[in-house]
């Protein structure tokens, strides 16, 4: 989200853990607002504070946490929740793919540690640094990742504690935080594509809208999400020749 936030910074800033923490600061408000909302939704889905903390620490993915809470509240089966989470979080594969190369030289364990904490936001900050031709190292990346991770867990816990006193988070519009985040992420995705591909992407968005409405007549919406994504991504490959 804050790809442009650190553009004003001079190149050649030290690649320290501390600099990683500093470069994370612009993203923290995003983590806090979504994290608190995720905690509130968790509490509204009858998760206790321990479960909300575990979810934040082990899954560590905003969109997925909202969906997991919604599916738990709806009494969805284990397999459906796990598979939906897998599909929702599959995008991390792309994010990791894009930023993995500069870390090749470090140990496997270090790579796994960095990969474990990749998010949309830390990816954004890291890829911005790479694009500007700055060197990127393990200490800086860990500073960035760990700051975001701790902020996320704390925010979810705060939301979880407040959630106890909020009977209906919908009144405050907090349930819309997820949709708003997806709208912003969609816009940020469209930002990164080449101009001549814009028509293709806009047509794919239209296909998803159409297939979602059609599929929702026959299957639950969380199944429709998976099927329409798989179908339209395949259309994307076929049309993008």
């Amino acid at each position: 989200m804050s790809v442009s936030a650190s553009k004003s910074k001079q190149s050649g800033t030290p690649d320290t853990f501390l600099q990683g923490i500093k470069d994370c600061i612009p993203t923290l408000i995003g983590y806090m607002s979504i994290g608190v909302a995720a905690g509130v939704v968790g509490a509204a889905s009858n998760l206790n504070i321990l479960e909300i903390g575990l979810l934040a620490a082990l899954v560590y993915a905003g969109a997925a946490q909202f969906i997991i809470c919604a599916l738990i509240a709806a009494g969805s089966p284990f397999f459906v929740i796990v598979f939906t989470t897998f599909i929702v979080n599959l995008r991390h594969f792309l994010l990791s793919m894009t930023i993995a190369a500069p870390f090749k030289k470090y140990s496997l364990l270090k790579n796994i540690g960095i990969g474990t904490l990749v998010t949309d936001e830390t990816f954004g900050v890291a890829v911005n640094k790479i694009v500007r031709g700055e060197t990127i190292n393990d200490k800086w990346m860990n500073g960035l990742n760990v700051t975001a991770y701790l902020c996320w867990i704390i925010s979810c816990l705060i939301g979880g504690i407040f959630g106890k006193w909020i009977a209906d988070p919908e009144v405050f519009g907090l349930d819309f935080a997820l949709t708003a985040m997806f709208l912003a992420l969609l816009v940020l995705q469209l930002e990164t594509i080449k101009k001549n591909k814009l028509t293709l992407y806009l047509s794919l968005i239209l296909y998803v809208v159409i297939t979602m409405f059609i599929l929702c007549m026959f299957v639950p919406s969380y199944v429709a999400i998976i099927i329409s994504t798989v179908i339209v991504a395949t259309i994307g490959v076929l049309k993008d020749k």
């Binding site: 989200m1 575990l54 969109a63 738990i72 284990f78 990969g115 519009g173 819309f176 985040m181 991504a233």
Partner: protein, 107 residues
């Protein structure tokens, strides 16, 4: 307070399937290259899934034909404009929450 076993299993399962796509590229990039067609297919996933999830929040299930939650549709409009204008996740989220809260409060 304790953790419900079935909830714990769900969280653990979700943690594992979330971890794999995150760390796999960091392991793979050391040895193999993905086929181009797979990389291309994956490149369309984010836009498709974000759109699908937005539509999901817009659809009211229950009837024989899915209906539109017009409050969500109404909140999407200012939120989308702010997203296009600011390109900021945090500002978009805050404006989105305010928009939705206002719509529910006034309408």
């Amino acid at each position: 307070m304790s953790v419900n076993l079935s909830i714990f299993l769900i969280i653990a399962g979700c943690a594992i399937v979330t971890l794999i796509p995150r760390i796999l590229p960091f392991i793979m990039v050391r040895s193999i290259d993905l086929p181009e067609v797979v990389t291309k297919w994956l490149s369309f996933i984010p836009i498709c899934i974000f759109t699908a999830l937005i539509i999901d929040s817009l659809i009211v299930e229950g009837g024989s034909v899915p209906a539109i939650d017009w409050r969500v549709l109404l909140a999407i409009m200012p939120t989308l404009l702010i997203a296009l204008w600011t390109k900021s996740l945090s500002i978009t989220v805050i404006i989105g929450i305010i928009s939705m809260a206002s719509i529910r409060f006034f309408l």
